[in-house]
């Protein structure tokens, strides 16, 4: 089992969710986050004063998958989240040791 942490531009959330659910993925966790990468921040103007905003708003999706779905999930996510511009985000892939469904106590891939 693997976990994908997908950081994307907020307005791409709907498309990525769509792409992942089309693969048959049943659950995702979404968090609004802020951060920076190679994309520079932007400036905001308030009554003539200019402020640089370093941390840009992003959305982080966490999804746990069976091994065989990982590659296609990555591929679909790239397709859905890409604008071609800097700041499109990243996907981090990590192994997952165990998954437990709290209601039934099921473990492993059954519980995903």
């Amino acid at each position: 089992m693997k976990k994908l942490e997908i950081v994307i531009k907020p307005f791409k959330l709907e498309q990525v969710k769509e792409a992942l659910t089309n693969l048959g993925i049943q659950g995702i966790t979404v968090t609004e986050v802020k951060g920076f990468g190679r994309q520079k921040g932007h400036t905001e103007l308030y009554r003539g004063a200019e402020y640089t905003v370093d941390f840009l708003p992003k959305v982080k999706i966490e999804v746990v998958l069976k091994e065989d779905l990982v590659e296609s999930a990555i591929e679909k996510t790239i397709k859905a989240a890409s604008t071609g511009n800097i700041g499109d985000g990243k996907i981090f892939v990590t192994p997952v040791e165990e998954v437990v469904r709290i209601r039934t106590g099921e473990r492993g891939e059954e519980a995903i």
Binding site: T43, E44, L45, Y46, R47, G48, A49, E50, Y51, V53
Partner: protein, 438 residues
Amino acid sequence: MFRSLPVACLLTALASGSAFAEETLPAIDSGSVAWLLTSTAMVVLMTLPGLALFYGGLSRSKNVLSTIMYSYTSLALVSVVWVLWGYSLAFGEDIGGVIGSLAHIGLSGIPLPGSEVAANINMGLTIPDSLFVVFQGVFAVITVALISGAYAERFKFPAFILFSVLWVTFIYAPLAHWVWGGGWLARIGALDFAGGTVVHIASGISGLAVSMYLGKRIGYGSEKIIPHNVPMVVTGAGLLWFGWFGFNAGSAVAADGLAASAFLATNTAAASAALGWLGIEWYHGKSPTAIGIASGSVAGLVAITPAAGFVTPMASLVIGAIAGVICYFAVYYKHKMGYDDALDAFGIHAVGGVWGAIATGIFASTLITGPTGARGLLEGNPVQLWIQIEAAVATLIFCFVGTAIILKVVDRFVGMRPDPESEMLGLNQAEHCENPYN
């Protein structure tokens, strides 16, 4: 107070040291009464919720309730002070051109409907004296509330209360007397239709004094200190624009052609100032912003306040546009100066107010004031411009020095600035034990 006729009557009455004789009083005019009742309510709306939302949105969320409380409490506090002694000091019988007598303390001598005395015995207007009292009272309210834009986010609530009571007593009341109560500024012929000096220069310069005395907010210049709710700012600005029709057109103190003309000038100046600020911000800064258009309209409303009943619609267009541009730069250069006028009470109200006073001296026109009425520089009367400058400078000095003295007293008795921990936590929590958004 604002029209040549009542002012003349008033001065005569004050000079002779007596109220009007019954037979010389004009009749109460129901149209004027209706309009002034409406105007008064509109001016209340400017403070609450207009200014409360405008300033509240401009402050950080951790201080929004504290900022709103300054406006709300001003409405309550100053309304009370006004009927107890404020009105009397401003509009009581003149003492040496400086202050009104205490004859009307607790509104004594203000006729009530059941009395046999004429309702307008003291002021000789076409509205009852009691209506004039409350109309003037809500002007005092908003003036005190406007100052809070300068000291927002770092003024203890008890200090605010003591400061406001002293300020309305020792600064506002005398100043209102000088300009509208038959005091020395009225006698030298200073023109202030609806409160450019009394309300805007006074609140702006006093705000500057408080912000200098208090010092900068923690993090000013290093941290990002930005408005927390722009739609709130815009809602507040909209209510200010609306209420300002009561403020300026109501200052005709009658439902007549002058009120209509002041109304037109007010809307025109607000509009051209909004565009002026927007344009200069776009050209000089980067982009046209919502806070920019809102701030610009307020700057225009401030500038047209003293001029509304003296200038033509085309003059108001010019006055507004220039106000938008100079107030933009006043606020822009604030960031390079040493004071922290948090929400720009000085940059918009004092700067816009001084421009309005000067503009009145330039543009006052007999097309509005009549063949024998006031006229400004453009109609060949440079003296008027000089008088306007004199009035503005006198107001600036009096308010700055007077406010500094009041601050010494407040500092001595209650202390003014919250401790750094409270300031960083935010005054919602530190001063009011309340959170705005739960």
